[in-house]
Subunit: 358 residues, 2 copies
């Protein structure tokens, strides 16, 4: 069974295919490739597992590949340049289709390379981690990190299609799977109470990689994200909600060095911090705050602030976040589970308390 969602963006509308064992189905790829030229971008971990699958459905094309090192630490302009080297060394032209095969780092980098190469060539996302399947592969955010801030250099650039094969999650380690679930929980917290309740009741099934449960959770997540992106592609308004937990999480990632925490783990801590501040403000109940914590814990996710970080560290790092406007840090906080909002109208002393973990 294959699910198809549509991300509605006018002339940049594109489909997301979700199912198990669908990497072998050429109809998910071939109609979305513009010329004979294809460059597959993958990494040293994923390429040995799935590169041949993809190539076997692209036998009618001239397939080139570039294999990058694995990890957030390599999401840099310098490593990005390896993709440009490959595009140029193979003399690939403006009609080449770039295929991103891997997790969020590969998707973000391959997408950004496609956005910039000759000022824009088509690309296809084949996300192979839960995190990238429910988050980064949907919505067109691409880019690389800078030493002074995460995702600071990039483009909004939409793929031709996204192909999500839940079978690829069978080779994902438990820690990565849980990290992906952090983003799944986020969608429940933002505006889908029903989905959050489903997650409370089905967490073990997700951790066991039940294909039906995975497909349901991925579809619900992608649908939630697609709705928000369709309304606000370039993050002028409602799309900022998707950053629930992320302003805190990015600060943790930057402070600890990329790669120490998985992105989803940092987001998990950030989600609870958002819940704690919302509780301190009197916006959500203690019970709701505890439900958030329990849900994260049931997914084996961390939720405690790293001991060596204090409020000063956070404030410094959060000040370079993209959500900052005229010096004020805007945060995504909660009115209830399933109803989040963007605000700069919070009590600064309660923020400091939250950041100090007290």
């Amino acid at each position: 069974m294959i699910e198809k969602l549509q991300v509605e963006l006018g002339d940049r509308t594109y489909p997301i295919f979700i199912g198990s064992d669908i990497l072998h189905q050429s109809q998910n790829f071939v109609p979305y490739i513009k010329s004979k030229q294809v460059l597959i971008v993958s990494n040293v971990t994923v390429a040995p597992l799935y590169l041949d699958n993809i190539k076997s459905v692209l036998t009618d094309f001239q397939c080139h590949e570039v294999i990058l090192p694995d990890g957030e630490a390599y999401k840099t302009l310098e490593i990005l340049n390896l993709v440009f080297d490959s595009l140029l060394q193979n003399r690939l032209n403006r009609q080449v289709t770039v295929v991103a095969l891997g997790g969020g780092v590969i998707g973000d980098m391959a997408g950004f390379a496609a956005a910039c190469y000759q000022r824009g060539v088509p690309f296809i996302q084949v996300p192979t981690t839960l995190l990238s399947q429910v988050d980064s592969s949907v919505g067109g955010k691409t880019g690389v990190n800078h030493a002074l801030g995460k995702n600071m250099i990039g483009a909004f650039y939409q793929p031709q299609c996204v192909v999500i094969d839940t079978n690829t999650l069978n080779t994902l380690d438990d820690r990565q799977l849980s990290a992906g679930i952090a983003e799944v929980i986020k969608y429940g917290l933002i505006n889908d109470l029903e989905f959050f309740v489903w997650l409370e009741n089905n967490m073990q099934s997700l951790l066991n990689r039940n294909p039906e449960s995975l497909r349901y959770a991925i579809k619900a997540s992608c649908q939630n994200k697609a709705n928000v992106v369709a309304e606000d592609e370039k993050e002028a308004g409602v799309r900022a909600l998707l950053n629930l937990g992320h302003t805190f999480g990015h600060a943790i990632e930057t402070n600890e060095g990329y790669g120490t925490w998985l992105h989803g783990e940092a987001v998990s801590i950030g989600l609870l911090m958002a819940a704690i501040l919302s509780y301190k403000q009197g916006w959500i109940t203690e019970d709701d705050k505890n439900r958030v914590q329990q849900c994260l814990a049931s997914a084996n996710l961390p939720y405690k602030i790293p001991e060596k970080m204090n409020a000063d560290d956070f404030i410094k790092l959060m000040s370079v976040d993209k959500k900052v406007k005229d010096g004020v840090i805007r945060l995504v906080l909660m009115k209830s589970i399933g109803e989040s909002f963007v605000t700069s109208e919070y009590d600064h002393s309660l923020l400091i308390e939250t950041l100090n973990g007290v």
Copy 2:
């Protein structure tokens, strides 16, 4: 006197102001800046001449600056990163306005940095060379070079406004002025016979930097380019005409190493090559071909192929040009002076003859 043109691009429409001594007029800048934060990007040659001018009209803003080395050789990802460093070190946010103060290299790099920083911040073009005033500052092409090809990494990204002060041309050396005139001549050749005739009759006045003549030539050039860009922002069709002379010119620049030839000088040679091939095809008369050569010569521009380049060198370099589609090199050639067209229907042996300079 100040001329105002509009580049019509829907919600990305923006004005071009052209006049002498207009860098001092705050109304050309202030309405186009979104927040208090401004980063001026300039180079070591231009900054000492005009940076203070700009800062004097931006006293109400927090003005930061980053000064890059001067020259096409520095139009790289590595140097671009200095702009990102400055943006992040100064903690500039998504509302910062980037001001490009300099020639085409500065405009392309500052524009691309603005396109990528936090996935897009506003920018203003203040071109200070004739080449950038009539070409690169209009139309939203931004980017950097790669060792294997010119302008291979970039974005289509439109400024908030363009401020062209013809007085800045008084500090431009003669060689740079002539290089700019190559692009001016190009507009006449593409689709404006009347303007080409004006250039034949007024070249000395332009070389003497007569302000009226400069304003007329810049306005006519910008208007020609704006019309084409409005019709085809992303170079899906008619915009390719603007590359008249450029496919040859880029090959010369790449072969000789960026910086050996000024861009406009390479384009000048490319324009005559396009005229020669068009003449060999029987599409233009010998008289027209000679008029092209005489016009370039009257502007003190080179028009002979570098001696060490042969057809093989050209073909290799032209094959990575962005105009290549499925291996066929598409060229902009002429039916007459003032009527150019894009074609791959030329006689390959005549192309080889042209490339070999025989």
